[in-house]
Assembly symmetry: C2
Homo-oligomer: 415 residues x 2
Amino acid sequence: MANQLRGACIIGQSGGPTAVINASAYGVIRTALDADCITEVYGAANGIKGVLDGKLYDMSQEDAEELRRLLNTPSSELGSCRYKIAAPEDDDTDYKRIQAVFEKYNVRYFFYNGGNDSMDTCSKISRYFAKSGYECRVMGVPKTIDNDLFGTDHCPGFGSAAKYIITSCMEVYKDARVYDTGMITVIEIMGRHAGWLAGSAAVAGHFGCGPDLVYLPERDFDMEQFLADVSHIYEKNGKVIVAVSEGIHDKDGRFISEYASDTASQKDAFGHTQLGGLAATLAAIVQEKTGAKVRGIELSLLQRCGAHLASQTDIDEAFTAGKVAVEQAVAGESGQMVGFRRAEGAAYKCEYVLLPLNSVANAEKKVPLAWINKKGDGVTQEFIDYVLPLIQGEPERDLECSLPRFARLKKVLAN
Amino acid sequence: MANQLRGACIIGQSGGPTAVINASAYGVIRTALDADCITEVYGAANGIKGVLDGKLYDMSQEDAEELRRLLNTPSSELGSCRYKIAAPEDDDTDYKRIQAVFEKYNVRYFFYNGGNDSMDTCSKISRYFAKSGYECRVMGVPKTIDNDLFGTDHCPGFGSAAKYIITSCMEVYKDARVYDTGMITVIEIMGRHAGWLAGSAAVAGHFGCGPDLVYLPERDFDMEQFLADVSHIYEKNGKVIVAVSEGIHDKDGRFISEYASDTASQKDAFGHTQLGGLAATLAAIVQEKTGAKVRGIELSLLQRCGAHLASQTDIDEAFTAGKVAVEQAVAGESGQMVGFRRAEGAAYKCEYVLLPLNSVANAEKKVPLAWINKKGDGVTQEFIDYVLPLIQGEPERDLECSLPRFARLKKVLAN
């Protein structure tokens, strides 16, 4: 190959965990271990922080079977971080350190597995190397349950989280209507700015066991209208199930989760407001209004780490995203994120595409308003048709005493 | 058969749902439909309330395949109730009504599927018929995720809920230690008076992914000691996972979940009013003490309706409990609950026994204190060995688009 680059690679994981982010890591690690021009395969402990600290695991020391079990091991096995890196133009301290570590280990391939913020980090590193002249191919491997990465049909992690949410909504539906007395249930679903996950709850309704009302953050939440609708359904049916995105807000942009609070909310390292407690807040408001028995359920971390209910389609695509990233980098690509394009036609088929990192970084893909119903309390058939193929397939997981047998890595530090 | 009794039967379900209560109902319905001396099989809508209202479903109208799907359909498909029936000696109004309905439909077999309160109802009806002289065989079919029925080794429903809890704890363990920053997670588990479910969380630790501290309601909860232990583990490891029964209480018998209603602690460190349950309350207290990032997770209804993660052993035993109830009633038994006796020996084996209803009703089986560790923050190996056989086996469920295909009953009302 004319353009062959020989050297070590680093794979790092960043941002919130998903059920399949380790499948992507495995896609990178397995393919890199098998690639002739990649001399060493390192896993960065806690993403870019592990690179900065020179804390790298030697993946060649791992047992092949344990590595394979990454396919069904939730959360980021290498560890994650939410480290916000400065723009190289403003402060190049971190970049100099990164390049020094890369030079020390002769790292020529860098794969970063994460969401918006991670693609931003990845893009900046790629830009810095382009300027500094250090030869290193940088590739982004997407993951996010939020499904909000720009330019790709969907993101690994979303399908499995959606499947967990839909299945749980169907089971809660069965549970919540067991008594002949009234009951209102409010289910809180992740997704700060994009309603892909909350909207997925509506898929449960497509199979006869879904929420009556579904609210996405793409539309302003009208408390008056909401309470009127809940009361109406409650009077008619005695049972109401509501699914809400954690990020629903009123027309002034105020999060509904903040209605219970007088003070400013905590913010994380990226300045994102820390949300939570919406189900309880809404449940209290609904209870006061209706006098009904109301239960708030927060799907919490469970929805993003529920590997036992993962979508095999999601696992396969997550793995392939990692694999393609390595193959394309070896073939000479750099500064790209692996994305997905859904092929036309009735049967679901996905093609892999490369998207320039700078086109992806920090952009957010929201649910098209045309896929939300007019009243703003449900989704259209297009949305259902979009989600269904992504949740297909039951994984064959290794079990131990009928419990998950997760990968057990040795995590031997590189010298 | 000398003692053959010919007539219709009624199956009713009562109390909180489980993942496998419908497997028991199916055990009753299938066996009753196939029994020569049982002329009609009726399902009572919402338990004893359906009997009182004369609202009975004709189970012979149902499709056999849909009935079979009850094996994997969570919650009580016939509907449940929490109706507390008076003692027949104090007020026999309800009993006269029940007998009138039974006479109208020539009901000679009554099967009641539930927990403590349901066995009490069952026991009272049996007692009333014995006095009134109406010939009817009354049998209890146990279910409760709480596992607190007296006289039986365990209860159908427990194994599946335990499996859901253990698996979820293992997944949350993976998720909660993904960052290199500190994190404390508090997981709230059902079981107000008995700690079987909370204790099961410790099984996750047996497989390397469990909570650091586990609290059961059988022991008084000491807040000072708890906060000292959490702080100690947090300082040492940076990560702490705590599993608590919803029913933990202090030495004065006050529920810890009620601590939030103190005027002094109505708001957490951020001024948020605490609306959630115990997990949110404890999380706020721990946060104030440690300054750490703390997340409260309530497994809520999910743990009792998670049929997708049911134990096949539990499903099989639930079915057999219903089947045995019918077979034994046909053979002449009455006034009994089907219970389980664990056979001696290394391999798990369960035998079915009959327990007089009046010995079961209203008694509570708690976790033996000897199975809780000395410090009261974990369980012993005996507890683990008790739980493990009950969670074994993965059910083959019918799926539709990779989502649960629950039973769809017609519920045709009997004339």
